[in-house]
């Protein structure tokens, strides 16, 4: 099971038949295991990693750290879930350290992101303060390096 997940995590387009060959079970077994894991929500969805910049679409990302003043017994969940509902917000995490929540926000321009934070996030009742860090460049995302990969030059034939 773990092996199937590892393979799919690296590339969800590998066919069940090929996975079957790789780990030495039948194609039908692979297909049914995948279905089962999809049903259980172990596999939540299949996504595509896109280089938007290369596609000519410009996006601005910012990491927003938030200090929260807890008001009710609902704790962090209520405010975090509320923030997560904004489509501009790409990720929401509860963190340790000087701040409580960390968000990733995506917009079309710095102005758009800045105004979104000022108008929609900073104004929330429980938000005590925000710090906005604009992302200048991403080098590694979710385990994948985004700069030129190392390509060792091996001899074409060697003993």
């Amino acid at each position: 099971m773990k092996e199937i997940l590892e393979i799919l995590e690296s590339n969800p387009r590998i066919e069940p038949g090929e996975i079957a060959a790789m780990i030495g079970i039948t194609e039908a077994q692979v297909a049914s295991k995948i279905k089962e894991m999809e049903k259980k929500g172990i596999i939540r969805k299949y996504k595509t990693v896109i280089d938007w910049e290369k596609a000519g679409e410009e996006y601005v990302y910012a990491i927003i750290e938030i200090k929260v003043a807890l008001r009710s017994r609902t704790g962090y969940d209520a405010i975090a879930e509320r923030i997560a509902k904004f489509p501009e917000v790409r990720s929401v995490r509860l963190i340790s350290g000087g701040h409580d929540l960390s968000l990733t926000v995506r917009g079309r321009s710095m102005k758009e992101v800045a105004f979104f934070v000022a108008e929609k996030i900073a104004t929330l009742e429980q938000v005590q303060g925000t710090v906005t860090h604009f992302v200048l460049r991403t080098y590694k995302e979710d385990g994948d390096v985004l700069f030129e990969k190392e390509r060792p030059e091996r001899l074409a034939v060697s003993p």
């Binding site: 790789m22 190392e150 060792p152 034939v157 003993p159």
Partner: protein, 404 residues
């Protein structure tokens, strides 16, 4: 007349064409050029070739190991080390053999760090061979054993292995090849090029033959970590074998460190000190940067090794099932990173098939006969290359089969 003037005069009187070839020793002249070399030249002339001909990992050395090498340079570790290698590295190797194989080697004088396993193999042959001694070399095998034995003044005695036996050499075959002159037996499992591994019971039978005839064993176990479905049995872990065997091992394959040239030999103090005698004059010591990397590899490298082994294992199954599906009879390799399919059904020789595959479909493999006569009719396909490339290569091999 002064000496110099006389010789200048002689040169005028007898103008001679210099033929530098004549200086080359007879022994070297007699060694046939590597069959791989010829193929390599062919590949160089072409573009867009997918190569399954590579005998090294497609992974870069894990970053933590490279980082340790860089840091050692920053600290100024650029000196010679002990001839035996850094003590810390030898201690780690010793610990590793105790833990993994329950064999004790004293880091002080039973472990020698070398510049790659190739050097260790050469040293081992030179340390034990007297002129005319015979060394049994099961084939197909890595290309350097036979020439190294010859250069050391010995006579290599090839013993063929067969697909029916899953390319394992049998105790009976070894027994039959032993003469009064036999000095040693070479074992190289997991095997390059077949991917064969020996079962413990096979090795025990061989150990009996070796004891009965009182010969030494040189066991090249550089692919030991790349053993699938089961653990590798180190030859010296068998009762009574520690004293008479030299185990060769290294970091090239397990830790993807080929270019750093780091290997080692472990064995009884008598044999290791004999090898060290040659090593101290020929090599002095293995490069310290590589040794620093080796220390890091043994301390913290297990996770990365396991990750690479898992990945090889997946590709192995993919390639073997792919080859069998297209009708090429391929036995299941259980070690190293090579598949060794038979192409006998096509009626072509290994060389012909490999050449046509290269010219018509741009896939490079190594013809099996390069690794010994009994490798004729087979191809060595390395699966140490990306999944996408493997699938494309398989498709191209099938296209060639269809066109035959």
């Amino acid at each position: 007349m002064s000496y110099s003037r006389k010789s200048a005069q002689n040169a005028l009187l007898y103008p001679r064409e210099v033929m530098p070839e004549k200086f080359v020793a007879e022994k070297v002249r007699q060694i046939p050029p590597s069959g791989i070399r010829k193929f390599f030249d062919l590949v160089l002339e072409m573009e867009g070739v997918i190569s399954l001909g590579v005998g090294e990992p497609d992974f870069v050395t894990p970053w933590h190991i490279r980082e340790a090498c860089i840091y050692s340079l920053e600290k100024g570790a650029t000196s010679y080390t002990s001839n035996y290698g850094l003590l810390e590295l030898r201690e780690l190797i010793s610990k590793c053999y105790r833990k993994e194989h329950s064999v004790d080697y004293d880091p002080k004088n039973e472990i020698l760090v070398t510049t790659g396993v190739s050097e260790a193999a050469d040293l081992a042959f030179r340390a034990i061979i007297n002129p005319g001694d015979e060394v049994i070399v099961p084939e197909p095998s890595y290309v350097s054993y036979k020439p190294s034995v010859s250069l050391a003044g010995g006579t290599p005695v090839p013993v063929p292995t067969y697909q029916e036996d899953e390319f394992r050499v049998t105790a009976e075959q070894i027994n039959k090849s032993i003469t009064k002159k036999t000095k040693a037996l070479v074992l190289s499992y997991p095997n390059n090029p077949t991917g064969a591994v020996m079962r413990k019971s096979d090795l025990e039978e061989i150990a009996d033959v070796v004891t009965e005839n009182d010969i030494a064993v040189i066991s090249d176990e550089v692919y030991g970590k790349l053993t699938y479905n089961g653990a590798h049995t180190c030859f010296s872990s068998l009762p009574g074998m520690t004293e008479r065997s030299i185990i060769l091992n290294g970091f090239s394959k397990s830790h993807a460190m080929t270019g750093l040239r780091l290997g080692y030999a472990v064995g009884s103090a008598a044999l290791i000190s004999a090898m060290t005698k040659i090593h101290q004059y020929a090599m002095l010591c293995a490069p310290i940067t590589a040794q620093m990397g080796g220390i890091e590899a043994l301390k913290n490298g297990d996770g990365e090794v396991q990750k690479m082994v898992r990945e090889y294992d997946r590709r192995r199954r993919l390639v073997v099932s792919g080859l069998n599906k297209m009708g090429l009879d391929c036995f299941e390799p259980r070690g190293a990173f090579y598949a060794f399919p038979s192409i006998k059904s096509t009626g072509l020789s290994s060389g012909e098939f490999a050449e046509r595959l290269l010219k018509e479909q741009k896939v490079a493999v190594v013809p099996g006969d390069v690794f010994g006569e009994c490798g004729e009719g087979y191809l060595r396909c390395s699966y140490a290359t990306s999944r996408e490339q493997l699938l494309e290569a398989l498709a191209r091999i099938e296209a060639l089969l269809d066109s035959l």
